[in-house]
Symmetry: C2
Subunit: 342 residues, 2 copies
DNA sequence: CTGTTAGCGCTTTCAA
DNA sequence: TTGAAAGCGCTAACAG
């Protein structure tokens, strides 16, 4: 049995209409008599018509440009995000997508503002994905939205803004998972230090809050800290809290200094559970050595991928998302499954 | 600056040639004078020409059919695999892919042989993905290969056959990861029971071997078992080993009866670490209750997706894979990240 | 409201 | 060894 593909042409022929009319009906572009419209739609359903995306895109010859803005630090994390961006680009380039990547030098929010401002004003971009933020960016995002840009945030949300959607982790859940893992690995009894960074971001706050929430479920586990570590001077910061670390069963490192801290911990006496976030080669080495017990991965590749892909789908109106949150999954990495993430 | 897309036409114009000649050169289809060929290739590189996949597929009008054969049991696992298959189908249907799904009734290898035999003889299929196996299927696979079918295995390999590649877990690694997790969760000290099924498959053997390997790294952890559980009579089988379970710190369930066993364990006195494989709603409930500590996920959706996608890429000769293994990742699921997998 | 026509970028005859 | 022409399935003027 030969299966003839059902195309708009087939429908047109069977109904004695022109392809143009069929096309107008199928795409609800109006200018079709109600009666004809019904006939076409019915025939389409009857034959199980599926429009061919390739042909559609090819003939429409639209071009879309998505700009994507994110920080540089920590490098290993954003490199993985960029892999996902590249993956989405390769997948969608033939469909008319162009992607422009802007990396913001470490912590330079002013530069970030300038770049975004410039992108909006250039009017050469259809959509924008932003991973820097906190409050000062809300008005900038809204300004872009008013100027007809489609904007989403990723990795780092600005919920107060009018961005269309957010792609990334739920940081409270990271904290929750960290608390669960650390508690279970220390045998649900003992003290856990929470280490964070000197700058108190919303994300860091959320992690701590989540951590505390879950610790309540473990009556014999206590948290000490949070201890703030200066990322430019990890060893010194650690020296300052060294005494507090004695007798602890576990440590959760909520900032990006996991490997430096692992290096420091390695030299200390005694064994303790060490949990952190994300992964790179260095972290992997400490996992192999048993210094780091486990790490929580934010699926950075997928974050980059979705930040582009979902925006593109939004642009072509395939999926319409307004004020949604696309929470990416949290993966637990230990010695025996680290190979899959590195 | 307006970026003109570089198409074969542009190259042709700039070189004063016809599109046909340019196309022949670009696709190395011969019948082009060496000199002309060089000119074209150089120009293509100079302009950074990238062929448009959509146009290429549309004009080539090839159709491919992939058949995919897998068991029904355990249902929740194969449902997830099927989701991945559907995802790949939806993604590639416009490119000319058709997928035919064959589910083999529980354990009925004879039926499996018949179906595969029939698929091969029908000559209506270009490629075949098989997830049932062990030795008796080797000659069947080789027969298909001889008959010009592209064949891969997934989830369940037949390494002795001439299949082009395998997509799925490394079962030894599952066992290894299970041992690491259980050991760490029990505080690296105590006895762990390993529960498996009555039929001794290669996969089960591998898991056990991996489990033993890693336990050696934990001097204070001992394994008891493996205990074989009859899946049609879980409670009875459990009753038989109930006494051995007293005083154990942990249990690793390597078969597909995790939720039944969790239900049984729930009623026992005392608390122990319980680790298993895969996830469904019922398993998730026991994770939430704290009966199941963690479970190891084989990424079934991705297995189904890749089993189709990679075969398709092989068919269109985009990626040529011979005798390769595509090992899918192992994910650790606990209470606080289970929501992402259900 | 409907149809005709040209064209997206590439592939494939067929003829020169 | 090269080129002209038709066509994949859909869309977008434009004319009627």
């Amino acid at each position: 049995m030969i299966k003839t593909k059902v195309t708009a042409k087939i429908i047109a022929e069977q109904l004695g209409l022109s392809i143009a009319t069929v096309d107008r009906a199928l795409n609800k572009r109006g200018n079709v008599k109600e009666e004809t419209y019904q006939k076409i739609m019915q025939k389409a359903k009857e034959l199980n018509y599926k429009p061919n995306k390739l042909a559609s895109f090819l003939s429409r010859k639209e071009q879309f440009t998505i700009a994507i803005v994110f920080p540089e630090y920590p490098v290993y994390f954003w490199e993985q995000v960029e892999k996902g961006i590249t993956k989405a680009f390769n997948e969608l380039n033939d469909y008319g997508l162009d992607v422009k990547v802007f990396k913001i030098p470490d912590q330079d929010l002013t530069r970030g503002r300038e770049i975004i401002q410039h992108i909006i004003n250039s009017e050469k971009v259809d959509a924008l994905s932003i991973a820097i933020g906190d409050d000062p960016f809300v008005e900038l995002i809204d300004y872009g939205i008013v100027n007809n840009l489609k904007i989403c945030t990723f990795n780092h949300d600005s919920p107060a803004s009018r961005r269309m959607f957010y792609v990334g982790s739920d940081y409270r859940k990271i904290g929750r998972l960290a608390a669960e893992l650390t508690s279970k690995f220390i045998g649900e009894k003992g003290e856990i230090a929470l280490i964070t960074s000197t700058d108190t971001t919303y994300q860091a706050q959320e992690k701590i809050a989540g951590f505390r929430e879950v610790l309540k479920e473990y009556p014999n586990v206590e948290m000490v800290g949070p201890f703030k570590i200066d990322r430019l001077n990890v060893n010194h910061s650690m020296d300052l809290i060294k005494n507090s670390l004695d007798g602890l069963s576990g440590i959760y490192v909520a900032n990006a200094e996991l490997s430096s801290i692992a290096r420091y911990i390695e030299k200390l006496e005694g064994k303790r559970v060490l949990i952190g976030n994300d992964i790179n080669k260095e972290i992997n080495e400490y996992i192999k050595k048993g210094i780091i017990t486990a790490t929580i991965n934010q699926d950075p590749v997928n974050q980059g991928y979705l930040a582009v892909k979902k925006l593109f789908e939004h642009l072509i109106e395939e999926e319409y998302m307004n004020n949604k949150e696309l929470i990416t999954k949290l993966e637990i990495i230990t010695k025996e499954n680290a190979q899959f993430y590195i």
